[in-house]
């Protein structure tokens, strides 16, 4: 097993965050983070960013519903 370097960490951050790593890869990941402060910072900021991006979409407004319904009905009549 070749050890992860910093580039690998940056390339695999989504796989880590999405839980898409084998236990071997996870171990490899942890070993690198243990010794690398730069990657510790990168990963923690990456995870903060992902959480910040997780905002629900706005609900469809009543006006948008009516407009779309009207357009659909017009096109179908």
């Amino acid at each position: 097993m070749t050890l992860f370097n910093c580039r690998d960490i940056s390339e695999r951050a989504t796989d880590y965050q999405e839980n898409r790593m084998s236990w071997r890869e996870r171990l490899n990941w942890k070993l690198h983070l243990l010794i690398c402060r730069d990657c510790q910072r990168f990963v923690s900021q990456f995870l903060v960013m992902v959480r910040a991006l997780q905002r629900p979409l706005p609900e469809t407004t009543e006006k948008e519903v009516q407009d779309q319904l009207r357009r659909v009905k017009e096109a179908r009549s």
Binding site: S44, Q45, P56, L57, L69
Partner: protein, 208 residues
């Protein structure tokens, strides 16, 4: 909230029976996600038309929808298809391969041994809340997302803002699971780059 359709199957059946209240309810539930996918793929100006086409196709096909996915996933897949067709017709499509490539910027952030050439800068905003409360940065992140290649943008929107699973993303965008992971990762790394730039310079650089 409508209580008329207790299950999704009820709603689908009523749509197939061409009931107005069912169309209205489906639009209420799914217009916003459908617009989000359309805007990601074709941009703001054409999104209306793409969504209109998608509704018409969906209502034509609803009778033969076998419910192997959720109604939402099925509708979003139709939107994505309409969007892609539109891009193809207008010769605006970007190749999938190009959208999977590493940002050249990040290629230079590592030396030949794979170490950071410049260490990641520390962000002042170190919680999600702190990132979100700064209007200028928030605006800059949104601009960055709007400039991402279509499929990256759609993947990011579906995953982060709509909470769809990776499997659903594959189904909707019709790309393999490994490619979905890469699309999502490239999109996130581009946003990361924007935040880092903003944190170190105070300036917004959302594009290439």
């Amino acid at each position: 909230m409508s209580t008329a359709f207790e299950t999704e199957s009820d709603l689908i059946e009523a749509m197939a029976a061409e009931r107005d209240d069912a169309f209205r309810e489906a639009i209420r539930r799914y217009q916003s996600p459908m617009m989000a996918v359309a805007m990601s793929l074709v941009g703001d100006k054409l999104a209306d038309e793409v969504v209109q086409e998608a509704w018409l196709s969906a209502l034509r096909a609803i009778g033969s929808f076998e419910q192997r996915s959720s109604l939402k996933t099925w509708l979003l897949r139709i939107v994505a298809n309409e969007g892609k067709t539109r891009l193809r017709r207008e010769n605006r499509q970007t190749s999938l391969d190009a959208m999977l490539e590493v940002d050249p910027y990040f290629r230079e952030r590592f030396d030949s041994t794979g170490h950071w050439t410049a260490a990641p800068a520390a962000w002042e905003a170190d919680t999600p809340e702190a990132l979100l409360t700064r209007d200028e940065l928030q605006h800059c992140i949104e601009q960055t997302m709007m400039q991402l290649p279509g499929l990256q943008q759609a993947a990011l929107n579906l995953r982060e803002r709509q909470g769809m699973s990776m499997k659903e993303l594959c189904n909707i965008l019709e790309v393999s699971e490994s490619n979905v992971r890469v699309l999502l990762h490239r999109a996130r790394m581009r946003v990361f780059r924007t935040i880092e730039h903003f944190e170190t310079t105070g300036e917004c650089q959302p594009g290439e």
